[in-house]
Symmetry: C2
């Protein structure tokens, strides 16, 4: 009988996941050419599968495709990263406001606990843990907002600037700056203050934008 090889050898999914992982972890250099035939051979799938995967990644904004000229890893300049973060600013503000209007007591407790873990991570000088908690906070806020549309947009935007976010997280002193901003967001949400939550979220992202622009000069 047909021994299901590799279980569900869906070529497109294989290629898509492998490529996306390589893009997000930075294994593929920005601007690098992505030749369909090479990728097909490298991942042991057909060219059509690679092609479909590249189309999906293009839709996510991770890859740039030019007709008859191939696909490249999309290069996000600092200026674009700033523009993206400006969009994140207003969208996360919306999510924060909605979250503040919808949280129940249990969710509020989770947020408060996460705030404590953020403080501990900074106190312990553990940037990796801080970064992880940071992402968890943003994810939680989006989830609590119930705004699937905004969440989808934010996921896309975040994927595009993951490299810049990573660089930013490594900057010395950055956690000390962002920690009170994060705590302010948590505070406003827990207190069911939509306007305050939106303002706090925007203040935080504005701070991120300023840091990004600094890194452009550095």
């Amino acid at each position: 009988m047909s021994v299901a090889p590799q279980e569900g050898a869906a070529g497109t999914r294989t290629a898509l996941e492998a490529l996306r992982a390589a893009l997000l972890t930075g294994d593929l250099a920005p601007g690098q050419r992505l030749v369909e035939a090479d990728l097909a051979a490298a991942h042991g799938v057909s060219r059509a599968s690679v092609r479909a995967a590249l189309m999906d990644l293009t839709a996510e904004g991770l890859v740039e495709r030019i007709p008859h000229r191939g696909a490249r890893v999309r290069v996000v300049t600092v200026e674009e990263a700033v523009a993206i973060t400006e969009c994140r600013m207003v969208l996360e503000g919306l999510c924060a406001a909605k979250a503040a209007a919808r949280v129940d007591d249990e969710q509020a407790a989770v947020l408060t606990a996460l705030g404590h873990r953020l403080q501990e991570a900074v106190a312990a000088g553990d940037p990796v843990a801080y970064s992880a908690h940071n992402r968890e906070l943003h994810r939680l806020l989006r989830e609590m907002s119930g705004q699937e549309v905004a969440t989808g947009l934010l996921d896309r935007l975040n994927a595009q600037i993951v490299r810049h976010q990573f660089r930013l997280a490594l900057r010395a002193g950055r956690p000390q700056v962002s920690l009170p901003e994060h705590l302010a967001i948590i505070d406003a949400v827990v207190q069911r203050d939509p306007q305050g939550a939106e303002q706090a979220a925007r203040t935080h992202l504005a701070s991120v934008i300023a840091a990004l622009q600094e890194s452009a000069d550095g």
Copy 2:
């Protein structure tokens, strides 16, 4: 500036444009199944081209694709339309603020003139002209903002709710409500008042959301 070379008869582009036009004009009913083979035969292109076009349209949020189960015209419920418009609210607010910070005198004059045309259209009871000027206004604001990222997101969102926007434009008395809101946006931008422009844009979109929710009950 080579003009768009349409002599290539690129099958994908043919199918993509035809399908997008059919979707935006409403020739294809929401929820309708889109069978690749049928579309390929109907437009005289290969199935692979239709497939590529469907992927692009899925990325734009106009089509819904389920693995091994085909593509359908995406149905946007009123609830989703509201969520989308909430995102539009904050994003257009961002664009309006940026536009107010960047307009030059010439662009301000164009905006002012467009405001007059909007008034005339309402006075003449011409909803079609008003709707056209309306779209032009939103487009201009996005262009003047210089925010390509936000513009791209807004284009996607608008395409998804074109049907709801159309229904809204037909409501009697709707222009009388939105006209002063539009004029307020123009006013704030012309006066280089970013905060006022953002607030005016958000007020306008909040009004649209309210109208959408009313139409849900009606």
